[in-house]
Protein backbone atom coordinates (compact mmCIF):
# COMPACT_ATOMS: atom_id res chain seq x y z
CA UNK A 1 0.00 0.00 0.00
CA UNK A 2 1.25 3.50 -0.73
CA UNK A 3 1.43 6.22 1.88
CA UNK A 4 -1.71 7.80 0.46
CA UNK A 5 -3.61 4.52 0.34
CA UNK A 6 -2.79 4.01 3.99
CA UNK A 7 -3.91 7.55 4.81
CA UNK A 8 -7.19 6.99 2.93
CA UNK A 9 -7.82 3.80 4.86
CA UNK A 10 -7.34 5.62 8.16
CA UNK A 11 -9.60 8.48 7.05
CA UNK A 12 -12.29 5.92 6.23
CA UNK A 13 -11.96 4.38 9.70
CA UNK A 14 -12.31 7.74 11.41
CA UNK A 15 -15.31 8.67 9.26
CA UNK A 16 -17.28 6.18 11.33
CA UNK A 17 -17.17 8.62 14.26
CA UNK A 18 -18.92 11.98 14.47
CA UNK A 19 -17.92 12.85 18.00
CA UNK A 20 -14.43 14.10 18.77
CA UNK A 21 -14.41 12.07 21.98
CA UNK A 22 -15.13 8.88 20.03
CA UNK A 23 -12.27 9.71 17.67
CA UNK A 24 -10.00 10.24 20.63
CA UNK A 25 -11.10 6.93 22.10
CA UNK A 26 -10.23 5.28 18.79
CA UNK A 27 -6.77 6.87 18.87
CA UNK A 28 -6.24 5.61 22.41
CA UNK A 29 -7.28 2.10 21.39
CA UNK A 30 -4.86 2.18 18.43
CA UNK A 31 -2.09 3.27 20.80
CA UNK A 32 -2.74 0.31 23.05
CA UNK A 33 -1.86 -1.98 20.13
CA UNK A 34 1.49 -0.33 19.38
CA UNK A 35 4.22 -2.88 20.02
CA UNK A 36 6.55 -1.64 22.75
CA UNK A 37 9.76 -0.02 21.55
CA UNK A 38 12.97 -1.90 22.35
CA UNK A 39 14.41 -0.39 25.52
CA UNK A 40 17.76 0.36 23.88
CA UNK A 41 16.03 2.88 21.60
CA UNK A 42 14.49 4.84 24.47
CA UNK A 43 17.46 7.13 24.73
CA UNK A 44 17.78 10.86 25.28
CA UNK A 45 19.02 11.29 21.71
CA UNK A 46 15.82 9.70 20.43
CA UNK A 47 13.56 11.91 22.56
CA UNK A 48 11.27 14.20 20.59
CA UNK A 49 11.24 17.65 22.12
CA UNK A 50 7.59 17.91 22.94
CA UNK A 51 6.12 20.01 25.67
CA UNK A 52 4.32 17.68 28.00
CA UNK A 53 4.90 13.97 27.34
CA UNK A 54 7.92 11.93 26.38
CA UNK A 55 8.01 10.44 22.88
CA UNK A 56 10.94 8.52 21.41
CA UNK A 57 11.63 8.00 17.72
CA UNK A 58 14.24 5.69 16.23
CA UNK A 59 14.88 5.55 12.48
CA UNK A 60 17.10 3.33 10.40
CA UNK A 61 17.59 2.57 6.73
CA UNK A 62 16.64 -0.90 5.57
CA UNK A 63 17.65 -1.10 1.96
CA UNK A 64 16.10 1.97 0.37
CA UNK A 65 13.27 2.16 2.87
CA UNK A 66 13.16 3.80 6.27
CA UNK A 67 12.14 1.78 9.27
CA UNK A 68 10.78 3.67 12.26
CA UNK A 69 10.25 2.58 15.83
CA UNK A 70 8.52 4.93 18.22
CA UNK A 71 6.84 4.99 21.57
CA UNK A 72 5.58 7.34 24.24
CA UNK A 73 5.75 7.15 28.00
CA UNK A 74 3.17 4.57 29.09
CA UNK A 75 0.57 6.95 30.54
CA UNK A 76 0.52 9.29 27.52
CA UNK A 77 -2.01 7.29 25.59
CA UNK A 78 -3.16 9.89 23.09
CA UNK A 79 0.45 10.51 22.06
CA UNK A 80 0.94 6.77 21.74
CA UNK A 81 -2.05 6.48 19.44
CA UNK A 82 -0.90 9.35 17.24
CA UNK A 83 2.61 7.92 17.11
CA UNK A 84 1.15 4.58 16.13
CA UNK A 85 -0.77 6.15 13.23
CA UNK A 86 2.37 7.84 11.92
CA UNK A 87 4.35 4.62 12.13
CA UNK A 88 1.61 2.75 10.30
CA UNK A 89 1.62 5.31 7.49
CA UNK A 90 5.32 6.08 7.11
CA UNK A 91 7.40 3.16 8.35
CA UNK A 92 9.06 0.91 5.76
CA UNK A 93 8.35 3.31 2.91
CA UNK A 94 10.95 4.73 0.53
CA UNK A 95 12.93 7.65 1.93
CA UNK A 96 11.92 9.87 -0.97
CA UNK A 97 8.21 9.10 -0.53
CA UNK A 98 8.39 9.93 3.20
CA UNK A 99 10.30 13.16 2.65
CA UNK A 100 7.72 14.29 0.07
CA UNK A 101 4.62 12.92 1.78
CA UNK A 102 1.65 15.21 2.20
CA UNK A 103 0.10 14.06 5.46
CA UNK A 104 -3.43 15.18 4.69
CA UNK A 105 -4.97 12.59 7.01
CA UNK A 106 -4.26 14.88 9.99
CA UNK A 107 -6.74 17.51 8.83
CA UNK A 108 -9.18 15.04 7.37
CA UNK A 109 -9.69 13.08 10.58
CA UNK A 110 -9.97 16.30 12.57
CA UNK A 111 -6.69 15.84 14.39
CA UNK A 112 -5.16 19.18 13.51
CA UNK A 113 -6.05 20.58 16.93
CA UNK A 114 -4.18 17.70 18.55
CA UNK A 115 -1.14 17.94 16.34
CA UNK A 116 0.33 21.06 17.80
CA UNK A 117 3.60 21.04 19.60
CA UNK A 118 2.00 21.73 22.98
CA UNK A 119 -0.85 19.32 22.94
CA UNK A 120 0.43 16.09 21.50
CA UNK A 121 3.93 15.68 22.80
CA UNK A 122 5.53 17.37 19.88
CA UNK A 123 3.88 15.30 17.16
CA UNK A 124 4.65 18.03 14.67
CA UNK A 125 8.34 17.77 15.59
CA UNK A 126 8.11 14.02 15.20
CA UNK A 127 6.81 14.37 11.65
CA UNK A 128 9.55 16.89 10.95
CA UNK A 129 12.22 14.52 12.21
CA UNK A 130 10.84 11.59 10.22
CA UNK A 131 10.94 13.70 7.09
CA UNK A 132 14.36 15.16 7.79
CA UNK A 133 15.89 11.74 8.33
CA UNK A 134 14.30 10.49 5.14
CA UNK A 135 15.34 13.52 3.11
CA UNK A 136 18.92 13.01 4.24
CA UNK A 137 18.84 9.41 3.01
CA UNK A 138 17.17 9.78 -0.39
CA UNK A 139 18.99 7.66 -2.93
CA UNK A 140 20.95 5.70 -0.34
CA UNK A 141 20.68 1.98 -0.10
CA UNK A 142 22.07 0.77 3.14
CA UNK A 143 21.37 -2.89 3.33
CA UNK A 144 24.48 -3.70 5.23
CA UNK A 145 25.33 -0.55 7.09
CA UNK A 146 22.65 0.86 9.32
CA UNK A 147 22.29 4.57 9.67
CA UNK A 148 20.27 5.82 12.58
CA UNK A 149 19.09 9.15 13.87
Amino acid sequence: MTINEKQDEIIEDFDLFDDQLDKTQYIIDIGKKLPPMPAQFQTDENLIRGCQSKVWLHAEMRGDTVHFEADSEPTAQISKGLVSLLIRILSDEKAEDIANANLYFIDRIGLSTLVTSRRAGGLASMIQQMKQFSAAHIGTNQAAERSTI
Binding site: L21, Q52, E73, A76, I78, S79
Partner: protein, 412 residues
Amino acid sequence: METATHEILDIEAIRRDFPILDQVVNGRQLVYFDNAATTQKPLPVLNALTRYYEGYNANIHRGIHTLAEKATSAFEASRRAIQQFLNAAHVEEIIFTYGTTDGINLVAQTYGRRFLKEGDEIIISTMEHHSNIVPWQMLCEEKGCVLKVIPIDDEGDLILEEYEKLLSERTKFVSVVHVSNALGTINPVKILIEKAHAVGAKVLIDGAQASSHIDIDVQALDADFYVFSAHKLYGPTGMGVLYGKRNLLDAMPPWRGGGEMIKEVTFEKTTYNDLPYKFEAGTPNIADVIAVYAALDYIDTLGKKNVAAYEHSLLEYATEALGSIDGLRIIGQSAEKISVVSFVLDGIHHQDTGVILDQQGIAVRTGHHCTQPLMRRFNLTGTTRASFAVYNTKEEIDRLVQGLLRVKKMML
Protein backbone atom coordinates in the same frame (compact mmCIF):
# COMPACT_ATOMS: atom_id res chain seq x y z
CA MET B 1 -21.70 27.15 59.50
CA GLU B 2 -22.34 28.33 55.97
CA THR B 3 -21.67 32.04 55.93
CA ALA B 4 -24.15 34.19 54.17
CA THR B 5 -21.58 36.56 52.71
CA HIS B 6 -21.21 34.92 49.35
CA GLU B 7 -24.95 34.67 48.94
CA ILE B 8 -24.81 38.45 48.61
CA LEU B 9 -23.17 37.86 45.24
CA ASP B 10 -25.52 37.25 42.35
CA ILE B 11 -23.34 34.84 40.38
CA GLU B 12 -25.72 34.70 37.42
CA ALA B 13 -25.55 38.49 37.12
CA ILE B 14 -21.77 38.40 37.50
CA ARG B 15 -21.53 35.85 34.70
CA ARG B 16 -23.42 38.21 32.41
CA ASP B 17 -20.62 40.74 32.98
CA PHE B 18 -18.19 38.30 31.31
CA PRO B 19 -19.44 37.84 27.75
CA ILE B 20 -16.69 35.33 26.90
CA LEU B 21 -18.20 32.76 29.25
CA ASP B 22 -21.34 32.43 27.21
CA GLN B 23 -20.00 30.29 24.41
CA VAL B 24 -19.97 26.72 23.19
CA VAL B 25 -16.57 25.05 22.95
CA ASN B 26 -16.29 21.68 21.24
CA GLY B 27 -20.05 21.29 21.25
CA ARG B 28 -20.50 22.03 24.94
CA GLN B 29 -21.03 25.10 27.11
CA LEU B 30 -17.61 26.43 28.08
CA VAL B 31 -16.39 25.78 31.62
CA TYR B 32 -13.41 28.07 32.22
CA PHE B 33 -11.21 26.76 35.03
CA ASP B 34 -7.89 28.29 33.99
CA ASN B 35 -8.20 31.42 36.07
CA ALA B 36 -4.82 31.09 37.76
CA ALA B 37 -3.30 31.50 34.29
CA THR B 38 -5.48 34.48 33.47
CA THR B 39 -8.95 35.58 34.48
CA GLN B 40 -11.58 36.72 32.03
CA LYS B 41 -12.39 40.42 31.75
CA PRO B 42 -15.72 41.97 32.76
CA LEU B 43 -17.60 44.45 30.57
CA PRO B 44 -16.49 47.52 32.56
CA VAL B 45 -12.84 46.65 31.72
CA LEU B 46 -13.65 46.03 28.06
CA ASN B 47 -15.65 49.27 27.95
CA ALA B 48 -12.81 51.24 29.55
CA LEU B 49 -10.47 50.05 26.81
CA THR B 50 -12.94 50.96 24.08
CA ARG B 51 -13.74 54.34 25.64
CA TYR B 52 -10.04 55.19 25.78
CA TYR B 53 -9.33 54.26 22.18
CA GLU B 54 -12.55 55.80 20.89
CA GLY B 55 -12.49 58.90 23.00
CA TYR B 56 -9.12 60.06 24.32
CA ASN B 57 -6.20 58.01 23.00
CA ALA B 58 -3.16 60.27 23.36
CA ASN B 59 0.36 60.02 24.67
CA ILE B 60 0.55 61.04 28.29
CA HIS B 61 2.40 63.45 30.56
CA ARG B 62 3.98 65.92 28.18
CA GLY B 63 1.08 66.65 25.86
CA ILE B 64 -0.59 70.00 26.41
CA HIS B 65 -3.71 69.26 24.45
CA THR B 66 -7.00 68.18 25.95
CA LEU B 67 -6.86 64.51 24.95
CA ALA B 68 -3.37 64.13 26.41
CA GLU B 69 -4.54 65.77 29.60
CA LYS B 70 -7.54 63.46 29.83
CA ALA B 71 -5.39 60.37 29.21
CA THR B 72 -2.77 61.49 31.74
CA SER B 73 -5.40 62.12 34.34
CA ALA B 74 -6.98 58.65 33.83
CA PHE B 75 -3.54 57.04 33.84
CA GLU B 76 -2.59 58.65 37.14
CA ALA B 77 -6.01 57.86 38.59
CA SER B 78 -5.14 54.19 38.12
CA ARG B 79 -1.93 54.71 40.05
CA ARG B 80 -3.88 56.15 42.96
CA ALA B 81 -6.38 53.29 42.77
CA ILE B 82 -3.55 50.79 42.99
CA GLN B 83 -2.04 52.69 45.90
CA GLN B 84 -5.34 52.22 47.71
CA PHE B 85 -5.64 48.60 46.59
CA LEU B 86 -2.27 47.82 48.22
CA ASN B 87 -2.59 50.42 50.99
CA ALA B 88 0.76 51.87 49.97
CA ALA B 89 1.90 54.92 51.91
CA HIS B 90 2.82 56.99 48.86
CA VAL B 91 1.49 57.11 45.31
CA GLU B 92 5.02 57.29 43.84
CA GLU B 93 5.72 53.86 45.31
CA ILE B 94 3.56 52.39 42.54
CA ILE B 95 5.60 51.58 39.43
CA PHE B 96 3.83 50.31 36.32
CA THR B 97 5.45 47.28 34.70
CA TYR B 98 4.51 44.76 32.03
CA GLY B 99 3.66 42.15 34.64
CA THR B 100 4.89 40.22 37.65
CA THR B 101 7.92 38.79 35.83
CA ASP B 102 8.92 42.25 34.69
CA GLY B 103 8.66 43.59 38.24
CA ILE B 104 10.86 40.84 39.69
CA ASN B 105 13.46 41.36 36.98
CA LEU B 106 13.42 45.09 37.63
CA VAL B 107 14.21 44.58 41.31
CA ALA B 108 16.87 41.93 40.61
CA GLN B 109 18.53 44.09 37.97
CA THR B 110 18.47 47.34 39.94
CA TYR B 111 18.34 46.71 43.67
CA GLY B 112 20.15 43.39 43.25
CA ARG B 113 22.95 44.65 41.02
CA ARG B 114 23.47 47.78 43.06
CA PHE B 115 23.36 46.37 46.58
CA LEU B 116 24.18 42.64 46.48
CA LYS B 117 27.71 41.34 46.30
CA GLU B 118 29.69 38.14 46.21
CA GLY B 119 28.82 35.72 48.98
CA ASP B 120 25.52 37.43 49.82
CA GLU B 121 22.64 35.00 50.12
CA ILE B 122 19.25 35.20 48.45
CA ILE B 123 16.43 33.01 49.78
CA ILE B 124 13.55 31.78 47.65
CA SER B 125 11.25 28.77 48.19
CA THR B 126 10.62 25.41 46.55
CA MET B 127 7.21 26.54 45.33
CA GLU B 128 8.41 29.53 43.32
CA HIS B 129 7.30 30.12 39.76
CA HIS B 130 10.25 30.14 37.34
CA SER B 131 9.76 33.93 37.22
CA ASN B 132 10.89 34.13 40.82
CA ILE B 133 13.80 31.71 40.36
CA VAL B 134 15.54 32.62 37.13
CA PRO B 135 16.01 36.39 37.69
CA TRP B 136 17.79 35.57 40.98
CA GLN B 137 19.88 32.84 39.37
CA MET B 138 20.95 35.35 36.73
CA LEU B 139 21.91 37.80 39.46
CA CYS B 140 23.80 35.10 41.39
CA GLU B 141 25.70 34.18 38.26
CA GLU B 142 26.70 37.75 37.67
CA LYS B 143 27.47 38.82 41.24
CA GLY B 144 28.53 35.56 42.86
CA CYS B 145 25.60 35.51 45.29
CA VAL B 146 24.29 32.23 46.69
CA LEU B 147 20.72 31.05 46.21
CA LYS B 148 19.09 29.22 49.15
CA VAL B 149 15.76 27.44 48.95
CA ILE B 150 13.13 27.02 51.69
CA PRO B 151 11.84 23.42 51.56
CA ILE B 152 8.16 22.49 51.78
CA ASP B 153 6.33 19.61 53.43
CA ASP B 154 4.06 17.02 51.81
CA GLU B 155 0.98 19.19 52.30
CA GLY B 156 2.61 21.98 50.33
CA ASP B 157 3.45 24.30 53.23
CA LEU B 158 6.78 26.04 53.72
CA ILE B 159 8.78 24.51 56.57
CA LEU B 160 9.32 27.59 58.73
CA GLU B 161 11.96 26.00 60.97
CA GLU B 162 14.05 25.33 57.87
CA TYR B 163 13.55 28.93 56.76
CA GLU B 164 14.86 30.14 60.10
CA LYS B 165 17.91 27.92 59.73
CA LEU B 166 18.66 29.48 56.34
CA LEU B 167 18.50 33.02 57.68
CA SER B 168 21.76 34.59 58.78
CA GLU B 169 23.68 37.84 58.55
CA ARG B 170 24.66 36.68 55.05
CA THR B 171 21.01 36.78 53.95
CA LYS B 172 20.50 39.99 52.01
CA PHE B 173 17.34 39.29 50.08
CA VAL B 174 14.28 37.05 50.38
CA SER B 175 11.91 36.63 47.44
CA VAL B 176 8.87 34.44 48.03
CA VAL B 177 5.50 33.85 46.53
CA HIS B 178 2.43 35.01 48.45
CA VAL B 179 0.22 32.28 46.98
CA SER B 180 1.49 29.26 45.04
CA ASN B 181 0.16 29.05 41.49
CA ALA B 182 0.54 25.27 41.36
CA LEU B 183 -0.63 24.32 44.87
CA GLY B 184 -2.82 27.21 45.99
CA THR B 185 -0.95 27.47 49.31
CA ILE B 186 -1.20 30.89 50.98
CA ASN B 187 2.16 31.55 52.60
CA PRO B 188 2.49 33.32 55.96
CA VAL B 189 4.29 36.22 54.32
CA LYS B 190 3.99 38.56 57.29
CA ILE B 191 6.02 36.13 59.41
CA LEU B 192 8.49 35.51 56.57
CA ILE B 193 9.05 39.24 56.21
CA GLU B 194 9.45 39.79 59.95
CA LYS B 195 12.10 37.10 60.22
CA ALA B 196 13.97 38.37 57.16
CA HIS B 197 13.96 41.91 58.51
CA ALA B 198 15.33 40.63 61.81
CA VAL B 199 18.56 39.69 59.97
CA GLY B 200 18.51 42.86 57.89
CA ALA B 201 17.36 41.31 54.59
CA LYS B 202 14.95 42.97 52.17
CA VAL B 203 11.90 41.08 50.97
CA LEU B 204 10.02 40.87 47.68
CA ILE B 205 6.61 39.22 47.64
CA ASP B 206 5.35 37.74 44.37
CA GLY B 207 1.65 38.48 44.55
CA ALA B 208 0.63 37.25 41.10
CA GLN B 209 -1.82 34.69 42.48
CA ALA B 210 -2.78 36.57 45.62
CA SER B 211 -3.99 39.86 44.22
CA SER B 212 -7.46 38.79 43.13
CA HIS B 213 -8.19 36.57 46.11
CA ILE B 214 -6.93 38.13 49.31
CA ASP B 215 -6.62 41.58 50.83
CA ILE B 216 -3.15 43.02 50.47
CA ASP B 217 -1.80 45.68 52.81
CA VAL B 218 1.85 46.30 52.03
CA GLN B 219 2.26 48.51 55.10
CA ALA B 220 0.79 45.94 57.47
CA LEU B 221 2.96 43.27 55.85
CA ASP B 222 5.94 45.62 55.90
CA ALA B 223 6.88 44.28 52.44
CA ASP B 224 9.83 46.00 50.80
CA PHE B 225 8.63 45.07 47.33
CA TYR B 226 5.34 43.60 46.13
CA VAL B 227 4.61 42.64 42.53
CA PHE B 228 1.54 41.46 40.65
CA SER B 229 -0.09 41.37 37.21
CA ALA B 230 -3.38 42.97 36.23
CA HIS B 231 -4.49 40.14 33.98
CA LYS B 232 -4.93 37.77 36.90
CA LEU B 233 -7.34 40.12 38.60
CA TYR B 234 -9.85 40.68 35.81
CA GLY B 235 -7.70 43.36 34.19
CA PRO B 236 -5.89 43.47 30.85
CA THR B 237 -2.73 41.57 29.89
CA GLY B 238 0.65 43.24 29.59
CA MET B 239 0.23 45.42 32.66
CA GLY B 240 1.63 44.89 36.10
CA VAL B 241 2.65 46.67 39.24
CA LEU B 242 5.79 46.93 41.30
CA TYR B 243 5.30 48.37 44.73
CA GLY B 244 8.50 49.38 46.49
CA LYS B 245 9.21 51.34 49.64
CA ARG B 246 10.07 54.88 48.63
CA ASN B 247 13.51 54.98 50.24
CA LEU B 248 14.49 51.76 48.45
CA LEU B 249 13.18 52.87 45.06
CA ASP B 250 14.96 56.17 45.51
CA ALA B 251 18.24 54.42 46.20
CA MET B 252 17.90 52.09 43.20
CA PRO B 253 19.39 53.04 39.85
CA PRO B 254 17.04 53.18 36.87
CA TRP B 255 16.82 50.08 34.69
CA ARG B 256 15.65 50.96 31.21
CA GLY B 257 16.69 54.25 29.75
CA GLY B 258 14.54 56.37 27.48
CA GLY B 259 11.80 58.94 27.43
CA GLU B 260 9.90 59.94 30.57
CA MET B 261 12.50 58.53 32.96
CA ILE B 262 14.79 61.58 32.58
CA LYS B 263 14.95 65.09 34.00
CA GLU B 264 17.48 66.42 31.58
CA VAL B 265 19.55 64.85 28.83
CA THR B 266 22.79 66.18 27.45
CA PHE B 267 25.43 64.13 25.67
CA GLU B 268 27.65 64.59 28.70
CA LYS B 269 25.26 63.58 31.43
CA THR B 270 21.65 62.67 32.01
CA THR B 271 19.78 63.29 35.23
CA TYR B 272 16.94 60.99 36.10
CA ASN B 273 13.36 61.77 36.81
CA ASP B 274 11.71 61.38 40.21
CA LEU B 275 9.69 58.39 41.31
CA PRO B 276 7.75 56.71 39.87
CA TYR B 277 8.77 57.92 36.41
CA LYS B 278 12.42 56.99 36.91
CA PHE B 279 11.37 53.37 36.30
CA GLU B 280 8.88 53.98 33.51
CA ALA B 281 10.95 54.57 30.38
CA GLY B 282 9.13 54.88 27.08
CA THR B 283 5.44 55.25 26.31
CA PRO B 284 3.75 53.04 28.86
CA ASN B 285 0.86 50.68 28.33
CA ILE B 286 -1.60 53.55 28.66
CA ALA B 287 -4.85 51.84 27.67
CA ASP B 288 -4.32 48.84 29.91
CA VAL B 289 -3.22 50.93 32.88
CA ILE B 290 -6.38 52.99 32.50
CA ALA B 291 -8.53 49.85 32.25
CA VAL B 292 -7.08 48.47 35.48
CA TYR B 293 -9.04 51.16 37.28
CA ALA B 294 -12.23 49.50 36.06
CA ALA B 295 -10.99 46.06 37.17
CA LEU B 296 -10.21 47.29 40.69
CA ASP B 297 -13.53 49.09 40.84
CA TYR B 298 -15.29 45.91 39.74
CA ILE B 299 -13.67 43.87 42.53
CA ASP B 300 -14.40 46.65 44.97
CA THR B 301 -18.06 46.68 44.04
CA LEU B 302 -18.36 42.93 44.56
CA GLY B 303 -16.34 43.18 47.76
CA LYS B 304 -13.11 41.23 47.98
CA LYS B 305 -14.26 39.51 51.17
CA ASN B 306 -17.45 38.32 49.46
CA VAL B 307 -15.41 37.09 46.51
CA ALA B 308 -12.98 35.27 48.79
CA ALA B 309 -15.79 33.64 50.77
CA TYR B 310 -17.56 32.51 47.61
CA GLU B 311 -14.35 31.17 46.07
CA HIS B 312 -13.60 29.34 49.31
CA SER B 313 -16.99 27.62 49.07
CA LEU B 314 -16.07 26.53 45.53
CA LEU B 315 -12.72 25.21 46.78
CA GLU B 316 -14.37 23.18 49.52
CA TYR B 317 -16.96 21.80 47.14
CA ALA B 318 -14.34 20.90 44.54
CA THR B 319 -11.97 19.34 47.07
CA GLU B 320 -14.73 17.05 48.28
CA ALA B 321 -16.15 16.26 44.83
CA LEU B 322 -12.76 15.56 43.23
CA GLY B 323 -11.62 13.67 46.31
CA SER B 324 -14.44 11.19 45.72
CA ILE B 325 -12.93 10.13 42.37
CA ASP B 326 -11.00 6.88 42.70
CA GLY B 327 -7.32 7.25 41.90
CA LEU B 328 -7.36 11.06 42.05
CA ARG B 329 -4.78 12.65 44.31
CA ILE B 330 -4.84 16.35 45.16
CA ILE B 331 -1.38 17.92 45.18
CA GLY B 332 -1.27 20.77 47.70
CA GLN B 333 -3.39 20.21 50.79
CA SER B 334 -2.46 23.20 52.88
CA ALA B 335 -5.05 24.37 55.38
CA GLU B 336 -4.58 27.85 53.90
CA LYS B 337 -5.40 27.76 50.20
CA ILE B 338 -6.93 29.89 47.51
CA SER B 339 -9.35 28.33 45.05
CA VAL B 340 -6.86 26.17 43.17
CA VAL B 341 -7.09 22.38 42.92
CA SER B 342 -4.07 20.67 41.41
CA PHE B 343 -4.33 16.93 40.99
CA VAL B 344 -3.05 13.78 39.32
CA LEU B 345 -5.00 10.76 38.14
CA ASP B 346 -3.29 7.39 38.65
CA GLY B 347 -1.97 5.95 35.39
CA ILE B 348 -3.21 8.83 33.24
CA HIS B 349 -0.97 11.51 31.75
CA HIS B 350 -2.05 15.05 32.64
CA GLN B 351 -1.80 15.99 28.98
CA ASP B 352 -4.41 13.39 28.04
CA THR B 353 -6.61 14.58 30.89
CA GLY B 354 -6.39 18.14 29.58
CA VAL B 355 -7.13 17.17 25.97
CA ILE B 356 -10.18 15.08 26.86
CA LEU B 357 -11.56 17.70 29.25
CA ASP B 358 -11.12 20.30 26.50
CA GLN B 359 -13.07 18.09 24.13
CA GLN B 360 -15.86 18.33 26.69
CA GLY B 361 -15.64 22.13 26.75
CA ILE B 362 -13.70 22.30 30.04
CA ALA B 363 -10.59 24.50 30.10
CA VAL B 364 -7.97 23.51 32.68
CA ARG B 365 -4.20 23.84 32.76
CA THR B 366 -1.88 20.85 32.58
CA GLY B 367 1.86 20.50 32.91
CA HIS B 368 4.48 21.79 35.29
CA HIS B 369 2.87 25.24 35.71
CA CYS B 370 6.32 26.84 35.34
CA THR B 371 7.29 25.29 38.68
CA GLN B 372 9.56 22.42 37.64
CA PRO B 373 11.51 22.27 40.94
CA LEU B 374 8.20 22.04 42.81
CA MET B 375 7.01 19.23 40.54
CA ARG B 376 10.26 17.38 41.20
CA ARG B 377 9.67 17.80 44.94
CA PHE B 378 6.49 15.76 44.47
CA ASN B 379 8.12 13.35 41.96
CA LEU B 380 5.79 14.53 39.22
CA THR B 381 6.27 15.87 35.73
CA GLY B 382 3.04 17.81 35.96
CA THR B 383 -0.50 18.01 37.26
CA THR B 384 -3.91 19.02 36.05
CA ARG B 385 -5.00 22.27 37.65
CA ALA B 386 -8.50 23.67 38.00
CA SER B 387 -8.56 27.20 39.36
CA PHE B 388 -11.74 29.06 40.17
CA ALA B 389 -12.83 32.68 39.91
CA VAL B 390 -15.89 34.53 41.14
CA TYR B 391 -17.93 33.64 38.04
CA ASN B 392 -17.53 29.88 38.44
CA THR B 393 -20.25 27.68 39.90
CA LYS B 394 -20.73 24.38 41.68
CA GLU B 395 -22.59 23.10 38.62
CA GLU B 396 -19.41 23.68 36.63
CA ILE B 397 -17.43 21.70 39.19
CA ASP B 398 -19.96 18.88 38.71
CA ARG B 399 -19.19 19.08 34.98
CA LEU B 400 -15.48 18.73 35.79
CA VAL B 401 -16.17 15.64 37.90
CA GLN B 402 -18.24 14.10 35.10
CA GLY B 403 -15.52 15.06 32.64
CA LEU B 404 -12.85 13.34 34.71
CA LEU B 405 -14.96 10.20 35.06
CA ARG B 406 -15.14 10.18 31.26
CA VAL B 407 -11.34 10.55 31.04
CA LYS B 408 -10.93 7.55 33.33
CA LYS B 409 -13.43 5.49 31.38
CA MET B 410 -11.60 6.21 28.13
CA MET B 411 -8.12 5.57 29.45
CA LEU B 412 -8.33 2.65 31.78
